[in-house]
Subunit: 200 residues, 2 copies
């Protein structure tokens, strides 16, 4: 389990119960996929993701065959899926515009990470939630559709954004701390209103 | 191919080229899944969905084993995935709160549909996009994870919301015509701002 050494992070970044981790992805935000293997690490953006199951907590992410992330994830069986906020929109787009094969993106783009347990892929700062995942090997759908199914083994959220197992009411979340929903080509929509449906 | 008999719909609801259909789902909106088989029909909400491939246009949707939609989709191999707007938020929540086994939801909830080709599941009015899909049978992931992989065989969009193969700039889309992103329990966030990332 990750323990943050920075007291400010300890206060702000809190564990999320696994059965509520799906809620971090439920609104369809773009995520970052961080990976690490044999001393190398990478991060990519993935608009194509979804929850799969509450308990055990499972998610699916599409990871294209051409990506270096795919090699690292297949080799390590591990990925950290994080939910970037508007604060790092430029970075969320930039990590999709270059390959980690050409050099460490964290260094090239000055990406801040938070201390994590040995062997865990990096936790990217400026996100509002992080899901540490173990890939469930499913060779056929990985090969045929680029679908990676994973089980969430730990999750954390920024308490300014997500607390008590759910996103705070939107009006309590500063615009810069809101999630990114990718239209394409670096254009995103950001939540601006929260509504509650009336029962039929 | 669906041809709308209502001249107003002909003007507003336009075909979307298949290779751009994924953009309707790219921002992670909640969708409705309509199904029909042997004279019966149903519709459910599905926050858990994602694009899979540009061309051939493919998507994935999670359809729980307990749902009647699942029976109809498995029997027919067909579903229409549509993208509801804030205009029908109450309905998008209501269709998830009852089962079609207990009676036709379209009648019970007064859901308006648009004329579609013979055999096509209903196109729900009040949506901004519709993807007519054929299920690609994948028994293992259907059984293990409730994942349904489908190929989009036709798509349409409301030209007030989505035109020239992409969503219009958000400021041109009336609030009631914007997409729904499910937080849970009938609470949704709705896009309120559009941003463009600056290249690194």
């Amino acid at each position: 389990m990750t323990e943050f050494t920075d007291p400010d992070l300890q206060e702000r970044i809190r564990p999320v119960p696994l059965q509520q981790a799906y809620r971090l992805l439920n609104t369809g935000a773009t995520v970052l996929v961080a990976s690490a293997h044999a001393g190398r690490r990478n991060v990519m953006a993935a608009a194509w993701n979804m929850p799969l199951e509450f308990s055990p907590a499972r998610i699916a992410v599409v990871i294209d065959k051409s990506t270096w992330t795919r090699e690292l994830v297949e080799a390590s069986g591990r990925m950290v899926v994080s939910v970037p906020t508007q604060r790092i929109a430029d970075l969320a787009f930039a990590v999709g515009s270059r390959s980690g094969r050409d050099g460490d993106k964290f260094e090239a783009l000055g990406i801040s990470t938070m201390p994590a347990a040995e062997g865990t892929p990096p936790l990217v700062a400026g996100c509002c939630g992080w899901l540490d995942c173990r890939v469930l090997p499913e060779p056929h759908v990985q090969q045929a559709y680029d679908i990676f199914v994973a089980e969430v083994v730990a999750a954390w959220a920024d308490a300014r954004v997500f607390a008590d197992g759910k996103y705070r009411p939107l009006e309590q979340i500063a615009p810069l701390d809101r999630t990114l929903h990718h239209l394409g080509a670096g254009r995103f929509v950001v939540p601006g209103a929260q509504i509650e449906a009336r029962p039929a």
